[in-house]
C-alpha cells in the first residue's frame, strides 16, 4: 500500500472540520459568526463538510455595525438563504437606541463597540460557544490564543490564564454564563485562505476583487475610501484607483489596497509576494497602539 502525503490544505481542512465537530459535540448552544467576509465564507464551506448531509447544529450570527458595504450584506443574506441555515442579525443601531452604546460622534468607528452588541447577543440567546474565523497569523495577540478560547461571564479573555491545549483534545467545559470562542482556522494564513477559496471555487463579495474606486491617498500610503461615512478630509482631494479589499469590516476602519487582481488566482499571486501584513495594510484600527488588539480582545472582541 503506498502512502499518500496530504497537502497542507488537506491537513488544515481535516483539523478545522474536527474542531467544528468538537464544538457541536461539546457545546449545547453554539453559534457561528458569519459576516460575509472571506474567512467566514471559508468557515461555512468547512461547516458544510463537517455536517452535511445534516443541517448545521448552530445558527449563523452577524453583528451588523450598520457601516458595512451594501454588497457584503447582500452577499451575507443570499449565502445564508442558499445554505438553508438560520441567520440571526443584531445591529449596533439597536444597541445605540437602547442606550447600550453611546457614540461620541456620528461618524466614529463602530468597530470597537461591536463587543457590546456581541455580548448582549450571547446573553439573549444563551450561546455557550461562538465559532469565529480569526487566524493566529493576523496579529500578535492572536498568535497566543487557544483554538478553544475561554471567556468569563464578562466576555473577557485573560491571556495569562489560558487553559493548556494538548494534542487535539479540546476542553470546552464552562460554568453557566461563561462561554467559549472556537477558532477552526487558527492555523491558516491569508495565503491558505485564498488557496482554499480557489480550490473550493467559493464565491466572495465583489469588493475583494480589483475595481475602480474613489479614494484619498493618505501619507504613508494608506488609502481612504470615499463614502458617506468617510468623506474627503479637508484640504485633501480624491483620486480614482484600481483597488481591492484584503479584509472587510466596518467601513470607517477598513481600507483597500492598490491592486489589479481581478481573479482568485491573481490574488494568490499577489499574496504570495506581498510586502505588507494583512491588517497592517488595511485596518486603520490596529495601528493605534502595539497592544490594541489585545486590549479589544480582553473586552470581549471577536
Amino acid at each position: 500500500m503506498t502512502n499518500r502525503l496530504l497537502t497542507h490544505l488537506e491537513r488544515l481542512e481535516g483539523e478545522a472540520i474536527h474542531i467544528l465537530r468538537e464544538v457541536a459535540g461539546q457545546c449545547a448552544n453554539p453559534a457561528l459568526l458569519f459576516s460575509g467576509g472571506k474567512d467566514s465564507v471559508v468557515l461555512l464551506r468547512l461547516a458544510e463538510k463537517a455536517f452535511r448531509p445534516g443541517r448545521f447544529p448552530f445558527p449563523l450570527v452577524h453583528i451588523d455595525t450598520g457601516h458595512n458595504y451594501a454588497e457584503v450584506i447582500d452577499f451575507r443574506d443570499r449565502r445564508a438563504a442558499e445554505l438553508g441555515e438560520k441567520l440571526i442579525v443584531r445591529t449596533l443601531d439597536e444597541s445605540i437606541a437602547k442606550g447600550r452604546i453611546v457614540l461620541r460622534s456620528a461618524t466614529e468607528s463602530r468597530n470597537r463597540h461591536q463587543s457590546v452588541t456581541l455580548l448582549d447577543t450571547v446573553e439573549e440567546f444563551e450561546f455557550d460557544a461562538l465559532i469565529g474565523g480569526a487566524r493566529r497569523d493576523e496579529e500578535k495577540a492572536r498568535a497566543k490564543e487557544r483554538v478553544f478560547s475561554f471567556r468569563d461571564e464578562f466576555g473577557q479573555w485573560d491571556p495569562k490564564n489560558q487553559r493548556p491545549e494538548l494534542w487535539n483534545l479540546y476542553n470546552a467545559r464552562i460554568h453557566k454564563g461563561e462561554h467559549m470562542r472556537a477558532f477552526p482556522i487558527s492555523n491558516w494564513t491569508e495565503l491558505d485562505v485564498w488557496q482554499y477559496i480557489a480550490e473550493e471555487g467559493l464565491e466572495l463579495p465583489e469588493i475583494y476583487f480589483a475595481h475602480e474606486r474613489e479614494v484619498v491617498e493618505l501619507p504613508g500610503g494608506a488609502l481612504l475610501p470615499v463614502t458617506d461615512l468617510t468623506p474627503i478630509p479637508a484640504g485633501k482631494s480624491s483620486v480614482r484607483r484600481s483597488v481591492r479589499f484584503r479584509t472587510v469590516g466596518d467601513i470607517s476602519c477598513t481600507a483597500p489596497v492598490l491592486s489589479e487582481a481581478r481573479t482568485v488566482e491573481d490574488i494568490i499571486k499577489e499574496t504570495a509576494t506581498t510586502e505588507i501584513t494583512e491588517r497592517g495594510a488595511t485596518r486603520l484600527d490596529d495601528q493605534t497602539s502595539e497592544a490594541s488588539m489585545e486590549q479589544r480582545k480582553k473586552e470581549g472582541y471577536f
Partner: protein, 461 residues
C-alpha cells in the same frame, strides 16, 4: 497619520542584502508561480509542525527571526513595528526577540508568557512553529507545544556545551513522542567555527540520548546571527557535510508512518438527517487519527466490541476511495450498530483492548497540586470518564534523568501514576500510537485542564 519610517530590515542581520534576497525569491517563485493545489508545477510538500526548545541566551529568538526573515515571513510593516518597539526600549538595533513576544504584559516585563505560533512557507512546504518560552513554566509550555509537533529543535550554545536544560529539553521531546529531534549547535561564530567543539557536544548528547533510548538525532552546527547553515550554507563551516537546518526541515518525511499504523477513529458525532430521502442514513463523523480505511475494511467498535465493515466513506456528499490519518470524514457501516459520540472505531485486526485501569505518565499542568484538585475527568479521543489517581509511583528528576520517590504532584512535575476509571476506555501505548496513547485530565470543579497523560506500555494494561 505619521510618515512611515523606512524599515530597518538589515539591523541585526548580516545575511544577504535585501535586493539579492528579493531576486532569489523571485527566481524561486517565478512569474508563473501557482500553488500546487491549483495544478501548478511546484509540488505541495505538506505541513510540518515543529517546536523550538531553548532560551533567549541560546539565541533561540535570533534563530526564529532568521528562519522567518530568510523565508520572507517578516513583512515590511511588521519590521517597522519591530524597529519602533526596539527604539522605545532604547535599543539601537532591531531586537528580533521582540518578534516572538506578543502580549503587552510580556513586553513590559521582557518575558514570554505563553506558547506562540508562527507561520512560514517555503513555497513547497508550510511550517507551523510553536515557540515555547524557556522560564520556570517551561515544562508546561513545552509539553503543550510538543503535543502537536512532528519535530523539535533543541538549541545549544556552542560556548556553553551541554547544560542540564539540554537534557531536559531532549527528554521532554522524546517523552512526548516526537520522532525527529534536531540538535542545533548555535553560536558557532563565537567558537571560531571549531569542528572539535561541535564533535564534543555531539558525543555528549549522543551518550545521554542512547541512555534514554532515543534512536536518532540530527546534529547541525550553525550561527543564527551570521546566517551560517540556517538557510544558506555560508562559507565558514566547510567541514560540515550535512544539510542546512532549512534543508533538513524541507526533507523530513511526513505522515507516512502515521498511515501505516492501526486505524483509529474516535466518533465525534452521529449524523442522522431523518429527511425523506435519507430516512435510513446513519453517518459516523470524526477524524482518522492514525492509519487508513477503505470500503470493505473490517472494524471493531470500542468499548462495546461490536463488529462491522465500512460500507462507504463520504466527505460533503462525495464518495472517497480511502481516508488516511489527518482527514476528517463520515463513515457509513454495513450493519446497524449502536454507536455514539465517545466510541472508538478501530481496525478489527488491531483493535485496542478496553480497560478501567491504566499506568500512565502525567505532565502536571495545574497550578494547584494534585492533592488539592477536584474530581478528575479523563478525556481520551472523544470519550470522557471520571478518573482517580491510585498510586503515585515516581517523579522523573529532569536533572538526573532518573525516577525519584514522590508524595504529591505539583505543576511541571512529570510523574508515573496508576489511574482507576469509572468506565472503560480503549487506549494504545503512547510509544506505539501517539494519538491513541494520549489523554488529558480535567478538574471537574474548575473545568481547567490539569494534566497531559501518556499511556505506558501494554504490559500495564
Amino acid at each position: 497619520m505619521e510618515k512611515q519610517i523606512t524599515p530597518q530590515r538589515h539591523q541585526g542581520h548580516e545575511g544577504a542584502p535585501r535586493k539579492e534576497q528579493e531576486k532569489d525569491k523571485e527566481a524561486f517563485l517565478g512569474d508563473s508561480f501557482v500553488p500546487s493545489s491549483l495544478g501548478g508545477g511546484i509540488p505541495d510538500n505538506g505541513l510540518l509542525r515543529f517546536i523550538t526548545c531553548g532560551s533567549v541566551d541560546d539565541g533561540k529568538s535570533t534563530l526564529i527571526g532568521r528562519l522567518l526573515y530568510d523565508s520572507k515571513a517578516i513583512l515590511a510593516d511588521a519590521m517597522d513595528a519591530l524597529a519602533k518597539s526596539s527604539r522605545k526600549r532604547g535599543l539601537e538595533e532591531v531586537d528580533l526577540s521582540l518578534l516572538t513576544d506578543g502580549l503587552s504584559a510580556e513586553r513590559e516585563q521582557g518575558i514570554t508568557i505563553d506558547v506562540a505560533y508562527r507561520y512560514f512557507s517555503t513555497g513547497t512546504r508550510k511550517y507551523i512553529l510553536a515557540d515555547a518560552p524557556g522560564h520556570e513554566q517551561y515544562t508546561r509550555n513545552m509539553v503543550t507545544g510538543a503535543s502537536t509537533a512532528d519535530l523539535a529543535i533543541v538549541l545549544i550554545d556552542a560556548r556553553k556545551g551541554v547544560l542540564p536544560q539540554t537534557r531536559r529539553h531532549t527528554t521532554l521531546a522524546h517523552l512526548m513522542g516526537l520522532r525527529h529531534i534536531v540538535v542545533a549547535v548555535n553560536k558557532m561564530d563565537l567558537v571560531d567555527y571549531n569542528q572539535a567543539v561541535f564533535s564534543t557536544i555531539q558525543a555528549q548528547v549522543g551518550a545521554f540520548a542512547s541512555k534514554l533510548g532515543i534512536p536518532q538525532l540530527h546534529f547541525i552546527p550553525l550561527s543564527a546571527l551570521k546566517g551560517d547553515m540556517v538557510v544558506d550554507r555560508g562559507e565558514r563551516l566547510d567541514w560540515y557535510q550535512g544539510p542546512t537546518l532549512m534543508e533538513l526541515l524541507e526533507s523530513i518525511e511526513l505522515d507516512s508512518s502515521e498511515q501505516d499504523q492501526p486505524f483509529r477513529f474516535p466518533v465525534q458525532l452521529v449524523c442522522r438527517p431523518r429527511t425523506e430521502e435519507l430516512i435510513d442514513y446513519r453517518g459516523y463523523q470524526g477524524r482518522v487519527e492514525s492509519g487508513r480505511i477503505k470500503p470493505g475494511d473490517a472494524i471493531t467498535v470500542q468499548p462495546s466490541g461490536a463488529r462491522s465493515r465500512v460500507r462507504r466513506i463520504e466527505l460533503y456528499g462525495k464518495e472517497l476511495p480511502e481516508a488516511v490519518a489527518g482527514q476528517s470524514v463520515t463513515l457509513l457501516l454495513e450493519d446497524e450498530v449502536d454507536i455514539s459520540r465517545g466510541d472508538l472505531i478501530a481496525s478489527a485486526e488491531h483493535a485496542p483492548v478496553p480497560t478501567r485501569s491504566l499506568t500512565a505518565t502525567l505532565a502536571w499542568l495545574g497550578e494547584k497540586p494534585l492533592s488539592s484538585t477536584g474530581r478528575l475527568v479523563l478525556r481520551h479521543g472523544t470519550r470522557e470518564v471520571r478518573a482517580k489517581v491510585g498510586e503515585i509511583e515516581s517523579r522523573l528528576d529532569l536533572e538526573a534523568l532518573e525516577p525519584v520517590p514522590v508524595e504529591d504532584v505539583a505543576m511541571n512535575d512529570i510523574v508515573t501514576v496508576t489511574l482507576k476509571l469509572q468506565g472503560p476506555i480503549a487506549p494504545d501505548a503512547h510509544t506505539v500510537l501517539r494519538s491513541g496513547g494520549s489523554f488529558i485530565l480535567i478538574d471537574e470543579a474548575t473545568h481547567n485542564t490539569v494534566a497531559a497523560g501518556l499511556v505506558l506500555g501494554p504490559e500495564y494494561l
